[in-house]
Symmetry: C2
Subunit: 340 residues, 2 copies
Amino acid sequence: MTIHDVARRAGVSITTVSHALNGKGVVKDSTRQHIVEIAAELGYSADAIARSLRSSRLGVLGLVIRPLDTLDSYSPVGVDYFVRFAGAAAVEALDRGFGLMLVRDPTTPNVPGVAMAVDGYIIADPVALDPVIDLLNRHAIPLVTVGRDIERPSFTDWVGSTSTADTLAVIAHLRERGARRIALLTGTDANAWNRDSELAYRNWACEHGQEPLVSHCDETLGEEGGRAFARTLVDASGPRADAVYCLTGRHAAGLAAGVQHAGFSVPRDVMIVAGSDSEQTRRSTPPITSVDLAPEVTARAAVDFLISRLDGNSSRQPPLIERALLVRGSTARSPKPSAN
Amino acid sequence: MTIHDVARRAGVSITTVSHALNGKGVVKDSTRQHIVEIAAELGYSADAIARSLRSSRLGVLGLVIRPLDTLDSYSPVGVDYFVRFAGAAAVEALDRGFGLMLVRDPTTPNVPGVAMAVDGYIIADPVALDPVIDLLNRHAIPLVTVGRDIERPSFTDWVGSTSTADTLAVIAHLRERGARRIALLTGTDANAWNRDSELAYRNWACEHGQEPLVSHCDETLGEEGGRAFARTLVDASGPRADAVYCLTGRHAAGLAAGVQHAGFSVPRDVMIVAGSDSEQTRRSTPPITSVDLAPEVTARAAVDFLISRLDGNSSRQPPLIERALLVRGSTARSPKPSAN
DNA sequence: CTGAAAGCGCTAACAG
DNA sequence: CTGTTAGCGCTTTCAG
């Protein structure tokens, strides 16, 4: 089924078929009608590959989820943010006439050739000075990121939220629930989420004359990392903080378990907020108040923004995503009349 | 960066470059060496599109997850089986030098052209007489399914497990835990999972002289569907069965809630087993014993099998996946000495 | 309004 | 051993 078959059957040249079907040149209405009918009858549709060869537009978007390259696992426990993201991105891409291809770190050897033939990339949570971005730039492939590359201040094509706002919202919530001494636990990946949250927290602490309590815990350690942190948080005289903002959901769940194991109560002695909602935060006892990272909304925005860039719309501003706090039992302390 | 640039720079013809780089024709060793060096130096790699135009091999696998087309949502709640499946399939495909493209029902209008240009498809859980299979056959695109199309007995290229084995294992487990009257609740999608499980159950009931207790509940109803079933299960004189095998995890969770709401105990009065492990079954109180559908193993097997078909290996037998029971609180009744 | 022809980058007969 | 050449299926000037 090629354009030739249609042309022959319709008694015209392939040019006319092409024009008629793509609404390009100037074709007499009756001829176009006729060609369209024949094409439908023959079930013809232009070969995507041949078309791309001319137009260098494949109709496929690539998606690289960097944290999964780091974790080296697509296991769902605690990473459901990313799978929701990928699913939503696929649907949105499809709706816009693109396919969505999942790609693992394309800087490694043995990447499929098509990886460098897609029309554009979404890089979710790039690391600092991400080599994937360099690779794509070298190949002149358009890209947008979700969350900025913290070492590339001049790169502005990223969607997401400044984690600053999230951090301040979390702190405000904790204060309103009576927290006096708030600690922060971030992951160790060099991404904007970890970095910006810490910055916002430190600024807040500084402005409010509170000594900052910041700790770090490797993302790959999972719940066990959170339990380990619980042991350092709680000493003989009790917890050194009465609230913890814990970016990673898995850490938060481990922390909750650890605190309770040490004989203290969540939320009475220690309140916990997770920076990302996940199965663990929902499942924990008590369930953990979390920031809803809104993966579906973010994914749709990222696809939309990337496509606008592909269309040559370079003026458009990258979207900022609104996020909400899912309030649960881990911060269910009755609000205190704010004393200071 | 085209093959011409390399040819010019190396002082040979494009044919020689092509041969040298693809190890095809006969090229003097020194020339090949030279060409390879030049290519590396120039950072050349053959354009995937142009190459596919000739070879009609794009290097991309398509994945269609049918239940998600039905649910019309990639929301994560209770569908984590599929996202785990997709992630694992992507990784395996990548490792084999293929990309993996997510595609929604390609029989609908507005599908991206590339959808019909991929090398092969994995169709997860096809419906009866699935139109997607017809479409792909019409386009002569190779495909394997996960779970068979129940109305296509002659189509044998499917991976999975006969749900018969799972069903019998579940029944055996329940009997061992003292169940006397086991009911079955399936979904309504016309797929092999629902159909074969019911068949196996009925056969078992028949052979053991038990009156079959089979109900159906729409997959899209979620936990609420399970609660509704609980109301029909429990009447004035108590539950009409002391154990339920509930294929869908969301239904199982709703059922557990409903039974307990009606004042009965899980597992004492009613034991529950889910046919697919999911967030809801893990999270439920008590946690629900479930069949581990092993999405990662299944996905890898499907990709592997599809690629062997693409390589023209038509003799290879489709793989059967081993599944295990994740035993949890919902069947934690002390085993009874089997009286019959 | 329609058609001939060039060429996208690559591979593979077929000559030399 | 190496190069010329004919396409893969399509879009797009440019002439009729």
